[in-house]
């Protein structure tokens, strides 16, 4: 936080990163070039990495570029594509450094299975291999590909990280290194200085002698060129593709029905059986007994399985499986959780906060002396906020197709963590990892939902138990009620204002702290006396990273409380924030930008109000103003304006699409998102009672990007979300005088 670097920071951050990497190159069987970059352990590819990291010495991520004899450049991307546009934009970053012809760039999903990478992909691509041994961590080509296979064990997509880690530190380096080697090969062949050779559109050009050649002509020779582990990367004024809104490569297949998602798995030559499953309604319980007598007689039913932790019906169609499953009467074991209801959950939180008192709990951040500043404050304010449990509800229901045959297992599924899936299936089935292959096509949304492996393990177990190749699909109800969740949270604040209305004392205590650690810290603001504490309390439902993770709660808490402080001071909420951002010029610039866009200070039509919020998350600062119309007595979302500084945006339209999506996701949660507990189980089940914002409820959204040039650059997938809820709640206060300290909002006006 407090990332207030000047607009032109040193570029050494990049060079430092790249020195941790290693680069390897080889020759394709057909006479092309293949080149890869891996990064040594210890690099922070998001804090989720430990959840899937393999053993010591394993690599975290890797990327490859392949230059075919047809002059086609293929970027091989380790991240999954779940709508965030990572595939296309990572290709764009690589292609720019390579000076590749964008029309001849393809993007390929890196295979998941380590042994598959090693044997089928890498060895086939790079048979006659040469390398500069002195530069290598593992000076054999076998060693290289072992590293490649291992690093795949940590394949993960999350934390708004693809562009700023893999893109910045591998795709660009791979592209730049490949270009440098191609230039070196041409210089040698033509007998000219490398510095005289230009590159453009996948072509090598020597102007003085009038010579030019497509890259492919020098692909083989390039593999023998020395490799520079810190190739010089372009500066922004040299970019040809980076910074441009190139159309995404995955979109054409998404307008004609041909895009393949996990649920579309149709392995050739396999007649699939279909499974529906039901898990216990209360976490931690199991099947006690069941009566499946009706289901056994139903059309299409092949097998009924009591798997102890779930019940499954395998049938000739998913629909028949689900119909039969619905008739099974299941008794579950009793839960030991003392939390049975929503009220119980919040009571547990309140108890922990009460017990922490004025000083207790674990310190998350501390500055100055809160107690004396609060005691001597001219004005004191207190507030308690709460938010409910939330589900991710990606549009593609949870599913997995599995085949277990001859001691091998093949899995097709939508996942953010393909190798974690492989490890989990390996442990559950008792098969070696190398005997398991994971295919992961496009994800129909995820937002953190598919960072776990339980559904793949369930499908694999059913396939193993029945001998059928099985496509298991969870009903929407199962995904709403039996998943992992954004935690509910309670958060209490005390604030002290001095005689001029300045917020000089700030105390906040809450109960859950997951990720990222700084989410609860109001670090962007200059507040002299700050105390942030965690009074840990048990939660009934299992945790999931949910788009923007802890920022989704604390963005609402902090930005609502700061708004309350502004009103207590009788100040304009935006000016009040600016006054606290004197040490944070980037944040102030973002706030000024959104003020201008939204014509802040101009009262709209009767009944309307505007609210503002600013949150920095995943390295990106986003400020939003939301305009609401309360004339009907219920909030109607009219406009959302967003200004964002991610340092430098690689694909402005793609980034804008993510900000828009983050706003709609955040407003959906703010207006409707809520999971209640009754008898220890989740009450809501499907989109009729776990509602989503629809097109007729969505405000007009305008986004502006500020390229401040700050490095390292920030992420795009999540930062649009956190300011949305507080900006909306603050707008409702401005329009109606009603302060909302609890989400969701819609029911409070019903």
């Amino acid at each position: 936080m407090n990332d207030t670097l000047s607009a032109k920071p040193p570029r050494s951050a990049l060079a430092k990163w790249s020195r941790r990497g290693f680069i390897g190159a080889g020759v394709l069987a057909g006479g092309g070039l293949i080149l890869g970059v891996a990064v040594r352990p210890g690099n922070p590819i998001g804090s989720l990495a430990p959840k899937v990291a393999g053993g010591e010495g394993e690599q975290l991520v890797n990327s490859w570029v392949k230059l075919g004899p047809d002059n086609v450049v293929t970027a091989i991307v380790p991240h999954c594509e779940m709508g965030q546009g990572a595939h296309s934009v990572l290709g764009q970053m690589l292609a720019d450094e390579l000076d590749a012809d964008w029309d001849k760039v393809r993007v390929m999903q890196a295979p998941t299975d380590g042994s598959y990478v090693m044997t089928d992909t890498a060895r086939a691509f790079a048979a006659p291999f040469t390398l500069n041994a002195a530069d290598w961590i593992e000076p054999t080509w076998n060693g290289l590909f072992t590293q490649v296979a291992r690093l795949a064990d940590a394949m993960i997509t999350g934390g708004s990280s693809s562009i700023r880690t893999t893109g910045q530190h591998q795709m660009r380096i791979a592209g730049a290194a490949a270009r440098q080697m191609l230039v070196g090969a041409a210089a040698q062949e033509w007998g000219v200085a490398a510095s005289e050779i230009e590159t453009r559109d996948s072509t090598l050009i020597h102007v003085a002698s009038g010579r030019s050649a497509p890259y492919a002509q020098f692909a083989t020779a390039a593999a023998e060129q020395p490799m520079d582990h810190t190739p010089v990367l372009k500066t922004p004024e040299q970019y040809r593709l980076i910074g441009k809104s190139k159309a995404r490569t995955d979109i054409p297949a998404k307008v004609d029905g041909t895009a393949q998602f996990g649920i579309d798995a149709a392995p050739e030559g396999l007649k699939l059986a279909y499974a529906a499953s039901v898990r216990p309604p209360v976490p931690g319980t199991r099947v006690a007994r069941m009566d499946a007598s009706r289901a056994k007689e139903m059309r299409g039913v092949l097998q009924i399985l009591d798997m102890e932790d779930f019940v499954a019906v395998v049938a000739e169609s998913y629909w028949h499986a689900q119909q039969a499953l619905n008739t099974i009467e299941i008794e579950w074991t009793a839960s030991e959780s003392p939390i049975r209801t929503t009220a119980d959950q919040f009571a547990a939180y309140a108890k922990a906060i009460d017990e922490a008192g004025a000083q207790g709990g674990e310190e998350a951040a501390a500055k100055g002396d809160f107690s004396s500043a609060f005691a001597s404050a001219a004005t004191r304010i207190e507030a308690e906020y709460k938010v409910p449990y939330l589900a991710h509800a990606p549009m593609e229901p949870i599913n997995c197709t599995a085949l277990v045959e001859d001691g091998r297992c093949e899995v097709w599924t939508s996942t953010q963590v393909p190798l974690m899936v492989r490890t989990a299936v390996s442990e559950s089935l008792g098969l070696a990892k190398d005997d398991i292959t994971i295919h992961h096509p496009f994800l129909g949304g995820s937002f953190g939902r598919r960072l776990e492996a339980v559904y793949a393990v369930m499908a694999a177990r059913v396939a193993q138990a029945t001998g059928y190749p099985v496509k298991m699909i969870w009903s929407r109800e199962e995904d709403t009620q039996k998943a992992l969740y954004r935690p509910a949270e309670l958060s209490r604040f005390k604030g002290g204002l001095d005689a001029e209305g300045r917020l000089v004392a700030y105390d906040n205590v809450f109960t859950q702290r997951d990720d990222p650690a700084e989410a609860s810290v109001p670090g962007i603001y200059s507040i002299p006396n700050t105390s942030v504490r965690v009074a840990a309390a048990p939660r009934h439902l299992p945790f999931a990273a949910w788009r923007s993770v802890d920022h989704s709660q604390h963005g609402f808490f902090i930005e609502s409380f700061v708004d309350e402080a502004a009103h207590a001071a009788g100040a304009d909420p935006l000016e009040y924030r600016l006054a606290m951002l004197k040490e944070a010029p980037r944040h102030a610039a973002v706030l000024r930008k959104v003020a201008k866009m939204s014509e802040w200070g101009q009262q709209g039509e009767e009944g309307r109000g505007k609210g503002v919020a600013i949150v920095e998350s995943f390295g990106t600062i986003v400020a939003q103003v939301i305009e609401v119309d309360m004339a009907s007595g219920q909030p109607r979302l009219m406009n959302a304006w967003a200004a964002a500084d991610a340092g430098y945006v690689v694909n402005p339209d793609g980034f804008t699409n993510q900000i828009e999506g983050g706003i709609v996701f955040g407003l959906t949660a703010a207006m409707y998102g809520e999971l209640d507990l009754a008898d220890g189980a989740i009450v809501q089940s499907n989109f009729h009672d776990y509602k989503m914002l629809r097109i007729n409820e969505t405000p007009a959204i305008t986004t502006a990007i500020i390229n401040s040039g700050t490095v390292p650059i920030g992420g795009g997938g999540e930062p649009g979300l956190p300011p949305a809820a507080p900006a909306l709640a603050n707008a409702i206060f401005a329009a109606s005088g009603k302060r909302l300290r609890e989400l969701p909002i819609a029911k409070q006006f019903a």
Binding site: S245, G445, G662, N686, H688, I695
Partner: protein
């Protein structure tokens, strides 16, 4: 035996007459462009045309299609894969994120534009409100429908 016209071709399928069109199309006919989202006609991901009208195929039994025409996203492009103005607008406006709901969005939008070539914002709201997009691409869906209708200029790439 269910007899109906699927994307212009007569088909006769030995299926349970109660089975929803969605699962017949996906699992029996092998056309995966139509998506399962909720199973209770709440999200629109499964939208197909039944005799030209958009219906939620997850909640419409195949018996309701007897003798009728069922049209899915696979039949939206022309025989040589040429895209409709609507699909082209979906690309020019870079609408999809994950893309999972977009078959249903396009089927709803196509029916709208066929019946109402110059829809207002209110017309778009009422025709598209049954289709959920969890990625939040609604502003782009609205713009793409206007672009396809010739009511707004297409986005240019080099923004």
């Amino acid at each position: 035996m269910a007899n109906f016209i699927l994307n212009g071709e007569p088909v006769a399928l030995d299926v349970d007459p109660a089975m929803p069109i969605l699962w017949v199309v996906r699992e029996v006919a092998g056309l995966n462009g139509t998506k399962f989202g909720c199973g209770i006609a709440q999200c629109g991901a499964c939208t197909v045309h039944l005799d030209g009208q958009p219906v939620r195929s997850c909640s419409t039994p195949i018996s309701a299609a007897e003798g009728s025409e069922v049209t899915t996203i696979e039949a939206m492009s022309g025989p040589d894969g040429e895209l409709t103005a609507l699909q082209q607008a979906w690309i020019s406006e870079q609408v999809p994120q994950c893309g999972y709901c977009q078959s249903g969005q396009l089927m709803s939008a196509a029916a709208l534009l066929r019946d109402n070539p110059a829809p207002s914002d209110a017309d778009i709201d009422s025709a598209m409100a049954g289709n959920i997009c969890r990625c939040g691409t609604y502003p782009r869906i609205r713009r793409a429908i206007k672009v396809a209708a010739g009511l707004a200029p297409a986005r240019t790439e080099e923004v």
